[in-house]
Structures are given as C-alpha cells and as structure tokens.
Symmetry: C2
Subunit: 225 residues, 2 copies
DNA sequence: ACTACCATACTACCATACAAGTATGGTAGT
DNA sequence: ACTACCATACTTGTATGGTAGTATGGTAGT
C-alpha cells in the first residue's frame, strides 16, 4: 500500500527522517541529547533499519553526531558554522537579488506583488504565523523568478544551521512593519531594474537576521560547542 | 578490528560510499547506468546494508536516483544545476576573496606563497597531476586563511555537480601558465589588501572553469537530461 | 498475427538476528 | 578504603530473510 503525495512516495524512512529533523530544529530534541536507534525505533514502532537510514541522512546534514559503538547525540550548535552560514546566505541572496534586478520574468513579478499584498493583509490581521510563511515564500519567489531553483535549495540547506539559533532567540521581537517595508523596497528594485539599490536593500535585509550569538552562547552554554 | 586514518574510523559503509562516489565522478559509472544493491554488494563482497546506506547518502547528494521497487540509476547531469553550481561557486569564492583581501592571517599568507612557489616548480617539471592538487590547495588556503573552513566544505559539495561536466571536457587543454599568473595576482591582491582587484581577479579566474555545456550536451546527449 | 493475461524474475523496503566495541556497576583481592 | 577486574547491559555495524511493488517475456485466447 502506497500513500502518494504529489509524485513522492512516503516511505517509513522519510516519515522518521522528517519527524526527527523537525524535532531537532524545533529544539524539542535539544542539542546534546543522546538518542539511540532502538529508542527511536520503539517510539515510531518500526524496525531499526529506517531509523538508521534517517540517522545517516541527518548526520550528513550535521544535525546528528554518530559515534560507532558508543551512541548518537543531537549535534551541539557550532557557532563558527552559524556565522559562516549567515555569510553564505547573505552573499547568495545578494547575488540572486542582483540577477533579479537585471532580469525577472513578468509573471513572477505579478506573484511577488500578490505576495506583498498578502503580507499587507497579514500585518493588519496580526496573523504572524502566516506572515512567517509569506516571508519565506517572498524570498523563494525571487529565486524562482530568475531561474535559481537549485540555489534556493542550497540556501535552504545552509539555513538549517541558522534555524536552531533563531529558534533559541524566540523571535517574537520581529518588527513586521519594518520587514514589510524592506520587502517592498526589494520588489521596487526588481521592478525598476535598479541593481545597486537591490543589492543594498538585500544587504540591509540580511542584517536583520543576525542573531546575537555571544548572548545566546552565554545564556545556553550547554547547547553550544 | 578497526583501521584508523587520522581520527576517522573506516567502516564498510564508508569504503563503499567513497568508492562509488569516485567511480561516479570519474564517469566509470556513466550517468544513466542502472545499479542495484545486490549487484554492488556482490562486487564488494559485503551485505546489502552498507550498500543501501551508501545509496542513501549518494541520493542525498544528487548522484543517484532511487526509484522504490524499480531500481537505482546514476543520475543524469542536470545542465541547469551545473549552471547554478557555477553561479554559486563564483559568488562564494569572490565573497571569500574580498574577505581575504581585508584580513588574512600572516602565517597563512606564508603558506599561500609556498604553494605558489611549488606551482612554479610543477610547471617547470610539467607535473600536471601535482599542479592540479596545488590548484585545489591554493583555493583551500584562501578559505582557511580567513576562517571560512565550513564555506569551503559547502563549495566542495556544490562542485560535485560541476565535476562530471569538467571530466567530460577532458580538461587537458589547461593553460597552466595562465593559471599560475592568475593565482599570483590573487596572492598579490591579498597581500596588498586590494579588495576590488582581488574581486576582479577572482571573477576572471572563475570564468576559466566555464565548460561549454551546450557543446557537451550535443556530444553526449545520453548523459544529460 | 495480435492482444490480454499471468508466471517469473527482478527491484528496493523493512524486520530481525548476530557481531563487535564500549560504558558501567558490582565484586574480589589487596 | 581502594583498586583492578569482569560480567552485563548497552551502543552502532553488518548480514540475511521476507514483503510488496514492478518490469518482462511467454502463453493462451481471439
């Protein structure tokens, strides 16, 4: 029996993988937590095989550290890696933004405007959960609008290392109005093909996501290495 | 019994993984080749388990396509992905280069110069295999010299998608002298803290690695999708 | 000759058993 | 009281058998 979502079959392995990844990124499995294949297999009521294969994937992404014959732990947050992830993301987003200001497909510009309008509504309705989704989608649209789908995927992968820090920060202090203003400026830069303005705005925009690592490391030393 | 290289234990899985990855990148397993867990396990005289776990890793890196209950094939080269990989690599290398021109640790500058001197020797000796290694090491030193070790790892991962195309090109047409000149200019830019010159030189340097995708796709259509 | 069907031989997926290394707590000897 | 040792209960690594879905080639029926 196969459950199909889109064109992707959902295997037991994928279910375990996605669930574990979610729990790690949401800090429900905090950095440093010891987990074993057997423990997880019992929790999901499956055998060790799909669990092991999930471990292999998560270890490759740097979210698990597997010590043969000793155990497996949720990886501690590597502050150096977080800083470099921020660095990589900034420069890739800016490079894509400059590309977008040079050439952007018209139909995607419409989608971008539609997304902005929805953001406007979300702020009025104070629906910040939806606003979070729209923020993600806004950036995604910029990537797809200038044919950088794979680059988006890489950025997503890189962002994994930022997410746990951002989660620690409990980002309730977002200034959504400011966020919207920046998004609007980015949109205008693309529309008017103003490369230097677009680059400048994206640089400012990226600066928003800087989490104060040192403060976090002091507050949660057990989560960092 | 454990064989230790450095601090890394070598498991059967790692042996299989590295061997398969090598064969794929060297095109000994050409794009489109069907392989099965059983076939590989027989070839390496191991069980299917470590082979499967290698497949999981290689699939995650985009080198294998696994179709449940149908089979596994070495992935076809995705020309769009190759182009974006080139895009990402260029912008990350340039960003790191600008950083290097701003601040570079003195001891690493010495290593960089030593590497250059070795390149000089290799060209005189026409030792192009060693020269290839030194080229890689030169770029690696730039990354480590401004504390961008993790960024180097990401670039290496991205470059996987460029390597098969470069292998097809059978890069015997390298102009090593020109390569050396460019490396020397990069070194000078770092030494003199000339950011704009460094950025410009790296942009030129990256342009060298552009493989003519369209020509390759015409010549080897069966390897592309 | 052509088509529909089915047996068979694949495939990857999952469960389970065993192997080998490691941490731990108790016990015997000093 | 303290130390060295060892049984035991963990851990991940590997091998293997069974399951379910899929491709394929032969065969019976038209």
């Amino acid at each position: 029996m196969e459950y199909i979502i889109g064109t992707q079959a959902v295997s037991t392995r994928d279910i375990v993988y996605r669930s574990l990844k979610n729990q790690i990124l949401l800090l429900e499995l905090p950095p440093g937590t010891s987990i074993s294949e057997k423990e997880i297999s019992l929790k999901f009521n499956v055998s060790r095989t799909p669990v092991r294969e999930s471990f292999v994937r998560l270890a490759q992404e740097g979210l698990l550290d597997v010590y043969p014959q000793r155990g497996t732990v949720v990886s501690l947050i590597d502050s150096g890696l977080v800083e470099e992830a921020r660095f990589m993301r900034e420069h890739l987003e800016r490079a894509v933004m400059r590309e977008a200001c040079s050439s952007f497909q018209a139909k995607h510009l419409i989608d971008l405007k539609a997304n902005l309008d929805k953001q406007r509504l979300c702020i009025e309705d104070q629906d910040y959960k939806e606003m979070f989704m729209l923020d993600e989608e806004f950036h995604h649209l910029i990537f797809t609008g200038c044919s950088k789908k794979n680059t988006w995927e890489v950025v997503q992968q890189i962002k994994v290392h930022l997410n746990r820090s951002r989660m620690l920060k409990l980002t309730a202090d977002h200034n959504w109005e400011h966020l919207y203003q920046q998004h609007y400026c980015l949109y205008e830069a693309i529309q008017t093909h103003d490369v230097s303005q677009g680059d400048h705005m994206m640089q400012e925009h990226m600066a928003l996501t800087i989490a104060d690592q040192e403060m976090l490391m002091e507050k949660y030393p057990q989560y960092y290495k």
